[in-house]
């Protein structure tokens, strides 16, 4: 008799979700689904609003990644104004985005995920959390706090310490960088660098390539922006897609024409859509984005320490890693690369220029803004009327891109750990860990908010509830 196992909701991610595992008659895993169960519908809210409001408005999609939406929105509006924004505005937007990557990755690694693997997947749930991490690695936990605070400070100082700062605006930014703030960033950068170097060393010493298979491994394509020479890119660049071997599938694709290659499918059991590579169809067109996606598509980071780290990463595995767990490894490499690039930006004297905004009116009726948010490629696409009122808005967020992959990851892990219908605490932890590796932000993807405990339902093929397991 077939059975369903439901885990709802998943903890330590942003938003509501549940997982259903389908068992066959022998109690082995047949399939799995990762459900997102709430909807807020921001695309409709935006219709009728002016393009000038869009960066501030779309920042409200999420309290976790407002910076990412502000930047993507401002870029889409730049296109509608048909302006080339001042070079200093580009440098400052890049600095803001790098600060966002540092703070977001630091939170994901130190607070949300590290307890799982540094304390052990089968550790007592009462201690397998950041509290246990403090007890076991107190200095690491404190450094993690300060590393995230450094990234947040970049955002606060640039944005003016306001909630949801409308700092990036159509045509540039509304505030230049002061010499005092630049000095603060430079003074505090070395400590942040030391922290990430030490964390990478600890991570590499703790997990060899084999150990990193704990959350499963599967073949997919990977997508991200790269520079003209194939280097890691987070703000501009063009779309590259590679396959599991690292062979180019799509090269140099114009981001403003994303819809030529990416389409979204829907399923009746989740509000989160399934973007996929259109030429390969659904679901074969699955690709992954985010830290591992970017690391797999790029030729190099373009900075010395991160490039040395990338070389070591690839020497241990292959040109492209398919291990879900390697999202964490890639996250650490990206923090290192971001900090190095922050140093490069701050050393550029142009960053203090007061010329940071181009003024213009509506010169195009359509604009696409794309950049790399911490969780992956973020797309804002607007159509406006002659007065700049939004007629249509489309958002494809990072978590959405990874939807197919998260479903696949859940299925792979379930197949590894569920046999003859035996559901253990350790299995639940690993499935949750598989989801958390992608650091999904469901607030963004469908705009739900909140965190909840886990309820696991085992449902037989007739729809009867056979078992319920609750985890607070």
């Amino acid at each position: 008799m077939e059975r369903q196992i439901r885990i709802e909701p998943v903890t330590r991610i942003e938003g509501h979700a549940k997982i259903t595992v389908f068992l066959d008659g022998a109690g082995d895993v047949r399939d799995a689904q990762f459900h997102v169960t709430e909807l807020r519908g921001f695309e409709k809210f935006c219709e009728g609003r002016t393009l000038w409001e869009m960066p501030g408005l779309t920042a409200r999609i999420c309290g976790i990644c407002p910076v990412s939406h502000i930047l993507a929105s401002a870029k889409a509006c730049d296109e509608i104004l048909a302006v080339r924004i001042p070079e200093t505005a580009v440098l400052l937007r890049r600095l803001m985005n790098l600060g966002q990557i540092v703070q977001s990755h630091a939170l994901s690694f130190f607070y949300l995920s590290a307890p799982d693997f540094l304390l052990g997947w089968d550790a007592d749930p009462a201690t397998r959390n950041v509290v246990g991490l403090v007890a076991e690695h107190p200095e690491l936990a404190r450094k993690g706090i300060r590393l995230r605070a450094f990234g947040q400070e970049i955002i606060d100082r640039l944005g003016g310490k306001r909630i949801h700062p409308a700092w990036a605006v159509p045509g540039g930014v509304n505030r230049s960088l002061s010499a005092e703030d630049r000095r603060w960033f430079l003074d505090n950068l070395p400590e942040a660098m030391d922290t990430i170097r030490g964390t990478l060393d600890l991570f590499k010493a703790s997990f060899d390539c084999e150990a990193r298979g704990v959350l499963g491994e599967f073949t997919s394509m990977y997508m991200g922006l790269v520079g003209s020479d194939g280097t890691w890119e987070h703000y501009d660049g063009r779309i590259r897609i590679v396959d599991q071997d690292g062979s180019i599938v799509v090269e140099g694709h114009d981001p403003s024409r994303y819809f030529d290659i990416i389409v979204e499918a829907s399923a009746p059991w989740t509000y989160l859509k399934f973007p996929h590579y259109e030429p390969m169809g659904f679901p074969d067109g699955m690709y992954r984005v985010g830290p591992l996606g970017r690391v797999n598509v790029c030729e190099a980071f373009g900075t010395p320490e991160a490039d040395a780290g990338l070389e070591a990463f690839r020497a241990e595995a292959s040109r492209c890693s398919g291990k879900v767990f390697d999202y964490h490894y890639a996250r650490l490499l990206e923090i290192l690369a971001s900090l190095e690039r922050i140093g490069v930006l701050l050393d550029d004297e142009r960053i203090l220029s007061p010329r940071v905004r181009a003024e213009a009116g509506v010169n195009r009726l359509e604009g696409v803004g794309i950049h790399e948010a911490p969780r992956g490629t973020l797309i804002h696409h607007y159509q406006v009327d002659d007065d700049g009122l939004i007629e249509k808005a489309n958002f494809i967020v990072s978590t959405g891109h990874n939807n197919l992959a998260m479903n696949r990851a859940v299925a792979e892990i379930a197949k590894m750990y569920i046999h003859k219908g035996d559901v253990t605490e350790g299995m639940l932890n690993r499935i949750e860990g598989g989801i958390r590796a992608y650091d999904p932000c469901l607030s963004c993807s469908v705009h739900a908010v909140g965190q909840m405990p886990i309820v696991l339902d085992v449902v037989d093929a007739d729809g009867g509830l056979a078992q319920t397991v609750t985890k607070e």
């Binding site: 976790i64 939170l107 403090v134 909630i163």
Partner: protein, 152 residues
């Protein structure tokens, strides 16, 4: 010696924005740091570890009067993208072995739907809230007789 005031809330959700609104209205003074935040996040422990006292200001969904409550660290299992004042204090104690004296000033709200701006009733409570904060600032080191009681 340092005091920290932290206003908590989302200014896009009506009266939920009263915490940041009140915090931003507190006049600057020596030894006082004022923050307005969308939500409490774990790295605020960095600010609290060197503070002597902290006052959280937040909207409340029930009641009709402003409350000033003494609060303390809460033993908790973890931190995420956001946390309560008590769990932030607990996290601070855990991470740094120290925690400031803490109070929560909660101001009743009426409308928490989408939209900016406070309701008339929340707006009318701002002077009372400011008065309570002045008292808190001036009464440092002395027990507050109204702790835990509804006031004005």
């Amino acid at each position: 010696m340092a005091d920290v005031i932290i206003g908590i809330g989302n200014d896009s959700r009506g009266d939920d924005g009263i915490g940041p609104r009140v915090a931003e209205a507190v006049p600057a003074r020596l030894g006082l740091e004022t923050l307005a935040v969308h939500q409490l996040v774990p790295e605020l422990a960095e600010r609290l570890r060197t503070a002597d006292r902290v006052l959280f200001i937040d909207a409340r969904i029930d009641g009709t009067s402003i409350r000033l409550d003494r609060i303390g660290p809460e033993a908790h299992r973890g931190v995420g993208h956001s946390c309560s004042p008590e769990s932030l204090l607990g996290w601070t104690q855990l991470a740094y072995g120290t925690v400031p004296e803490a109070w929560l000033l909660s101001v009743p709200g009426r409308s928490f739907g989408m939209g900016e701006g406070l309701s008339a009733s929340a707006e009318a409570r701002i002077p009372d809230a400011m008065g309570r904060i002045e008292t808190w600032l001036d009464g440092r080191g002395t027990p507050d007789p109204t702790d835990g009681e509804e006031v004005a």
